[in-house]
Amino acid sequence: MNPANYILLSALLFSIGAIGVLVRRNAIIVFMSVELMLNSANLAFVAFARMNGNLDGQVVAFFVMVVAAAEVVVGLAIIVTIFRTRRSASIDEPNLLKY
């Protein structure tokens, strides 16, 4: 199979994720979109590793997974706290930190 197809899939997934972040209001969905973007990046790394025939990309993909796991922990904790105080998971409502 042509490795370029993996890259195209990765770009597609990244765009879906980015649009999801921009257009959805529910914090959980936004969060999932972020994960999608991360995983699309992982896919690109792994594809490049395969194309170049070395393991560098694979190693970076593992790093990204670790960072994503940590980020999920912190991000979910924040979302849960906001939900507890505001009874809503909308990302547009907490907009106090502004000019």
Binding site: A18, V21, L22, V30, I91, D92, P94, N95, K98, Y99
Partner: protein
């Protein structure tokens, strides 16, 4: 070369001379109200103590041979920095001792007089504290053995003078006069400080011995510069042209201050400086000529101003200017004049202190009125004041055998030894002196009563009249005593030098001519002010009178030449600072502020809009990269 005596015996007390009044000032100033009752007496006691020590030192000095009358006491090492080494050292010689005696003896009399004059003043203690401070600083000035220490005393008397002129500081005129005296004195002080720097650079030392010993090695241009700078200093302190304007206003201070500081002692510090630096002036002919010219101009300015003022103290102040002009004039004549400058300084110190205290006594009886047009016929009411004032009057116009005759006659004679034209000018000025002093005496003590209705003249208390009597005795006999018994010219010769040059005419001719001119002046004064009625409102007067009432436009000239340009340049600088410097800074600040206000709006608080800007930025970056790669 004179030998230097170690400071032993009574001379070991040299530092005590200064320490006593300084301690008095310190106790009175720090002690506050607690010292109100006994403070003034303590002040008098310290000065009398110094006077006693000074007299003992004079006796001890007279016992030594003439060449061994210089005592130097090294109190402590003061400034020791590299090659700049100055000791706090005091030097007592024939010149300093006469000053010390004048300051402490006349000072003590004026202190006692002040006890009566200031009896009702609530700030009496402060007054005595400042007077003590003045005496200490003045003694330091005349006892210093180097220019730097002299400068300390010089500034000290300036400070004391400022404090005492402005003693009644609630009076705006007094406060302004104090400020004016201080500022004008600063101009002279700059001259002194630059002179000291120049002396150090030229001679590598500031002590009198080192400097005067090396005068021969310096070039004449440098010496002339030093001489002119010292003259500027002397002009500031001694109210000589062109820095004369402060002395007339200084009469705002209490009368004893005018007598002690602005007649007898402080204003003569300039003469002391010139006489002390005689070695420099002897080597710098141009500077000495400048001294003569300044002295001569001031003699006439002072005399003319003194002739027109109706305020008795200001008239006396004009006379002081004029008499100090005589001293400066004599000091500029060179070795033929120094001793007579000091001689006239001593006699003037006594008779002018007497005259000022007499004027104070008159004011005391006249509800502090100073306008002579409101005096008249006081000779019957204030007998002692009148008689003592007459002694001072005869002394200042120079009628033999009163003291002023001897000293002024010697100056006129010395002037003729140098040049007949300046001698004739000095005689003419003596005639004007005769005129204005007669005018003052006639307006005050003779003629008809012109008193204001609520004024009841009376003689002053004994505490004031006794100093007057002592000073009157001094005014009468001191000239003869110093000349015939004290041999003043030979006493001072080892310090300031003395020579006598034959004059074209025999001595008695000058004496007779001077006396005739003085008596003509006095007669004109008598005819104008005693034989005719004195109008209470001052008549308009001729051009010269009107100019003299304005201090010969001294203030106007200062305003035009110095004050206005200073104000204008200050205003210009302020405008420049406000508009240009501040303008640029505030413009930058407001520009950045406005920009920030606008940029702030982009912080909306919506997380998604931030995300959009991030994505947008990433896309722009990506597109840019691709475009670069493609081209």
């Amino acid at each position: 070369m004179t030998e230097i005596l170690p400071a032993e015996g009574v001379f070991s007390l040299l530092w005590v001379l200064i320490a006593l009044p300084a301690a008095g000032a310190l106790i009175l100033l720090l002690g506050g109200r607690r010292t109100n009752t006994w403070g003034p007496y303590l002040g008098i006691l310290t000065v009398v103590g110094s006077a006693v020590i000074a007299v003992l030192m004079l006796l001890a000095m007279m016992a030594e041979p003439a060449e061994q009358r210089t005592v130097i006491q090294n109190v402590y090492d003061w400034v020791f920095v590299g090659s700049f080494q100055v000791s706090f050292a005091l030097q007592l010689d024939q010149l300093s001792i006469v000053f010390v005696l004048l300051i402490t003896l006349v000072g003590a009399l004026i202190f006692i007089y002040s006890l009566g004059y200031m009896a009702h003043d609530p700030d009496r203690r402060k007054f005595f504290a400042y007077l003590n401070l003045f005496v200490a600083a003045m003694l330091l000035l005349v006892l210093a053995n180097n220019y730097l220490l002299l400068y300390v005393g010089w500034e000290g008397v300036g400070l004391a003078s400022y404090l005492l002129i402005g003693f009644w500081q609630r009076k705006p005129t007094a406060a302004a006069a104090a400020k004016k005296a201080f500022v004008i004195n600063r101009v002279g002080d700059v001259g002194l400080s630059v002179a000291i720097m120049l002396i150090f650079v030229t001679f590598g030392s500031v002590t009198f011995q080192d400097v005067f010993g090396q005068v021969g090695e310096a070039n004449e241009g440098t010496l002339t510069a030093i001489g002119l700078l010292l003259l500027l200093a002397a002009a500031g302190k001694s109210a000589q042209f062109p820095l004369q304007a402060w002395l007339l206003d200084a009469m705002e201070g209490p009368t004893p201050v005018s007598a002690l500081i602005h007649a007898a002692t402080m204003v003569t510090a300039g003469v002391y400086l010139i006489a002390r630096s005689n070695a420099i002036y002897n080597a710098a002919t141009w500077a000495a000529t400048a001294v003569v010219v300044v002295g001569l101009i001031t003699i006439f300015m002072g005399a003319i101003i003194g002739s027109a003022k109706d305020d008795i103290k200001k008239s006396l102040a004009g006379s002081t200017m004029s008499q100090i002009g005589y001293m400066v004039f004599a000091a500029g004549l060179g070795p033929i004049g120094y001793v007579f400058a000091i001689f006239h300084l001593l006699t003037h110190g006594v008779f002018k202190a007497g005259l000022f205290l007499g004027a104070g006594s008159v004011m005391h009886g006249m509800n502090d009125g100073v306008n002579m047009r409101r005096y008249g016929a006081l000779k019957g009411v204030m007998v002692i004041t009148f008689i003592t004032f007459m002694a001072g009057y005869l002394a200042i116009i120079g009628i033999p055998p009163f003291s002023g005759f001897w000293s002024k006659d010697e100056i006129i004679h010395a002037a003729f030894e140098r040049n007949s034209i300046i001698g004739a000018a000095a005689i003419l000025a003596a005639g004007i002196t005769g005129f204005y002093m007669t005018r003052m005496v006639a307006m005050t003590f003779f003629g008809k009563k012109r008193w204001e209705d609520d004024v009841h003249p009376h003689e002053s208390p004994k505490v004031m009249t006794i100093p007057l009597i002592i000073l009157a005795i001094g005014s009468t006999f001191m000239g003869m005593a110093l000349l015939f018994w004290g041999n003043i010219e030979y006493w001072l010769e080892p310090v300031v030098g003395y020579e006598s040059v034959p004059t074209p005419l025999p001595t008695w001719v000058y004496i007779v001519v001077t006396l005739v001119v003085v008596i003509i002046g006095a007669i004109i004064g008598w005819v104008t002010y005693a034989r005719k009625d004195v109008p209470i409102e001052a008549p308009r007067g001729n051009l010269l009178t009107r100019a003299a009432r304005q201090d010969l436009y001294g203030d106007a000239i200062n305003d035009v030449l110095v004050v206005e340009p200073t104000y204008k340049s200050a205003h210009a600088l302020t405008t420049f600072d406000n508009k240009a410097v501040d303008g640029f800074v505030t413009w930058t600040a407001s520009f950045v502020g406005d920009l920030s206000k606008r940029l702030r709006r982009s912080q909306t608080g919506f997380a998604r809009s931030y995300a959009l800007s991030m994505v947008g930025g990433a896309i722009i970056l990506l597109v840019a990269l691709i475009l670069v790669r493609l081209s």
